[in-house]
Symmetry: C2
Subunit: 138 residues, 2 copies
């Protein structure tokens, strides 16, 4: 999650909403990403999408079975769907997002039936990054 936070800080430094994600396989980071919606003018360029696409490119396959995704903020509906399609085995979330997070909209778990989920990991750091960003924008 420290690496995901690093990505999130990088996003913030670039004027993007500070969310970061990394995909880990066998203890090694195989994909990382941060929010790039402004730079790419693409609302789908979320941290998780970048990290998943990067990880799949590293592995040369479509699925991330056995991999863990760390993300600083609860994924939105789109990213939750992508995580499910990629069959990520473990999802580790920092701060909740009651407004845009998937859990506000989805009935049950959208992830692979065998996927493990952990939330609230380094939550204060993840949350405060977001709060400072939006405060500075007001």
């Amino acid at each position: 999650m420290h690496a995901a936070l690093q990505e999130a800080r990088q996003a913030g430094a670039e004027g993007e909403i500070p969310i970061g994600a990394v995909v880990v396989c066998d203890g090694r980071i195989i994909g990382r990403g941060h929010n790039l919606t402004e730079r790419l003018s693409d609302v789908t360029a979320h941290a998780e999408m970048q990290a998943i696409t990067a990880a799949c490119a590293t592995l040369g396959g479509k699925y991330l079975t056995g991999c863990t995704l760390y993300v600083t903020v609860e994924p939105c509906l789109m990213c939750a769907g992508a995580i499910a399609w990629a069959q990520v085995s473990r999802i580790v979330i920092g701060a909740a997002d009651p407004k845009r997070g998937y859990s506000t909209y989805v009935k049950g778990s959208p992830f692979h039936p065998k996927a493990l989920l952990a939330t609230g990991i380094l939550e204060p750091e993840c949350r405060s990054l977001m709060q400072s960003f939006f405060k500075s924008r007001r």
Copy 2:
């Protein structure tokens, strides 16, 4: 929807699940796409994602307000989320997808609060393309 069906047939011809999508603005197609998950080895490369990204590139902006998305099969959770983020104003769906479609998983509408939704448009054509594809694979 005929243009979306054309995209879907193209996907099928390339060995991809035959789903197509187009984005229309002021009566003009500004983005089109079909499923490319196999070719790109990327589970996020759905027809809608391609069409949305293409349309945003055409307009040079992040939002598709005032645009209509035509898609041959009900979007999945990921694509529904992307459609919401892009603020597509009208969503026109061909065939339902009770297994992977967003409506099986989502409470209420995931789309922009003012978005209009039409389903079942050219449904027999959209559905039969999918059925023939999966039948030929068995």
